[in-house]
Amino acid sequence: MARFIGRRLLLMVPTLVLVSILVFALSEILPGDLGRFILGPYASQSAVTQLDHKLGFDKPIYVRYFEWAGHFVTGHWGTSYQYTNLSVFSIVEHALGNSLLLAGFALVIIVPTSIAVGVFAGLRRDSLLDRIITVSSLSMTVIPEFVSGVILIVIFAVELNWLPASATPPVGSPFVDRFYYLILPAIPLMLLELGYIARMARAGTVQVLNQPYIRTATLKGLPQRRVVFSHVLRNALVPTVTVIGSQVGWLIGGLVVIETVFVYPGIGNYTVHAALNHDQPLLEACVLVIAVIYMVSNLVADVVVALLNPRIRKSS
């Protein structure tokens, strides 16, 4: 197992280097004259040259890349252009905490719900209920999260007044209150993921139900509940866990939008505002952090799959 994880961690390194080159190229080289890009078209040329020199933009590209990458690795992420005097590191740290709280809360709702829905549909394969669940959950999945966000806000915040339309409780509220405020933002994220995860859980269930060992379990007189929980689930969950891991990218994309919809100070919201305001240091840091989280979560999913399925663990 340790070898498996070690190999996967090693494989992450070249991808991470490529991603960092990509981000560097997009944000440091593509704009051309960065001093001009930051100061705008009306700044004097001498001011632009001065800024270029001060920020080191006049050095050769490879020198700049290694300096830039070195600063990231050692935690010197610079200061934000937009929020003057705030270090990028502290902004990202704070934003990441908020995002993880929202994403974690959403996942806690998403995973059990969608597995339950999928297994339920799989056990009643080809029934009307199965078709309704499959079609509607897949339709939900393709609706942009700001659209479902709008509809949910109109229903639950504006018309019924059950839940708050913003995601942050007033200052001084107890910590548990935060979850109450996160319910409405979490639902669009759930709708986004529900379809895929439920579909995999359904497919896994359908496939496992056809296996001889399930027939054996039923024939030896085990109650239906035992068959489902201790025989079907374990094997039906393997493809489901894989897809949950691969959905993390979508979840992060979803967070970017949901955090904007509900004005929530998470990493997605900061990424959008950094991009809109040309705050390069903050933007680069946010994007790299998101890439690392994405890769790590894929790794975690693979490890969990390997734990569930000894065949994969042994073959590698």
Partner: protein, 298 residues
């Protein structure tokens, strides 16, 4: 099944084989079309999609002017204004219908670009394998390691907002996924006899890829294309909403939802109408995509 065009010196037998293969292809195509038109979900998707295409082209002829600011400000839905009016007194129904236009330009063109680029990259990677494949797939992985929205934001922040930028950026960001699909389809085909035969004939690899392999992997490419189209609508609308799409006063749905957000509490219809329109379009595209892929797999 590979038909390589007819040359005069070919024997009768070969012509017969070709004719039989073509008849088989026609039969298969008819079967797919018949399956499609028997699927209620596909038909529902198709009808909604055709409705939006009609509106994108003709909405200005069948609704009030989407730019006319004559009406009362933020009026509730009524007989005169079915979906009410917005904060400038414009008819929300007219603007919602006109809003189909932008998405239906951006999404199909972006998808076409992604299919073109992804097709080329996937053919090259899958056909050549080896080092070329390794290098290409590493780069594809790097692109896939970033959520599409994040990369799109990064690029559009630099290039500015326009139709061309949106189309090229979405097309480019979908290229890695498409190339992966095409690559795996090519790998499935490249060991077949007809590919071997073409190589032994001494055809150049570009010819083998484009004229021999490509016609045989159209099904997965069509399926990938329809699925990508759904995501392209999704992505284009999301970018608009986040402020990286078109500029006002475009009636683009994502943009309208974002810019009318402050009226959500007092005049929800202004935001709700484009939201529901967008939802209906993405669901329609995906129903069509789902119908096509299940008709092929039958």
């Amino acid at each position: 099944m590979a038909t390589t065009g007819t040359t005069p010196d070919r024997g009768d037998l070969e012509l017969q084989v070709n004719a039989a293969a073509e008849a088989e292809q026609r039969r298969q195509r008819r079967f797919v079309v018949r399956t499609l038109f028997r699927s209620p979900t596909f038909l529902a998707g198709l009808v909604i999609l055709l409705f939006w295409i009609f509106m994108a082209v003709f909405s200005t002829h069948v609704t009030q002017s989407p730019t006319n600011t004559g009406g009362a400000i933020l009026a509730s839905p009524s007989g005169a204004h079915w979906f009410g009016t917005d904060d400038l007194g414009r008819d929300v129904f007219a603007r919602t219908m006109a809003g189909a236009h932008t998405v239906l330009i951006i999404a199909p063109l972006a998808t076409a670009l992604a299919l073109l680029w992804g097709g080329i990259v996937g053919l090259i990677a899958g056909y050549h394998r080896g080092l070329t494949d390794d290098i290409i797939m590493r780069i594809v992985d790097a692109f896939l390691a970033l959520p599409v929205i994040i990369t799109a934001i990064l690029i559009i922040a630099l290039l500015g907002r326009s139709y061309a930028v949106l189309i090229v950026v979405i097309g480019a960001l979908f290229t890695p996924v498409v190339s992966r699909t095409v690559r795996s389809a090519v790998i499935g085909e490249r060991e077949r006899e007809y590919v071997m035969a073409a190589r032994l004939r001494g055809e150049r690899s570009a010819f083998v890829m484009a004229r021999e392999i490509l016609p045989n992997i159209t099904q997965p490419i069509i399926v990938e294309g329809t699925v990508r189209l759904g995501y392209a609508v999704f992505t284009a609308a999301t970018l608009s909403f986040l402020g990286f799409g078109l500029e006002p006063p475009s009636p683009d749905w994502g943009l309208v939802i974002a810019s009318e957000w402050s009226n959500l509490q007092t005049a929800p219809w202004v935001v709700l109408a484009p939201a529901l329109a967008l939802a209906s379009m993405v669901v329609a595209v995906n129903l069509v995509a789902d119908g096509i892929s299940s008709a092929f797999s039958k």
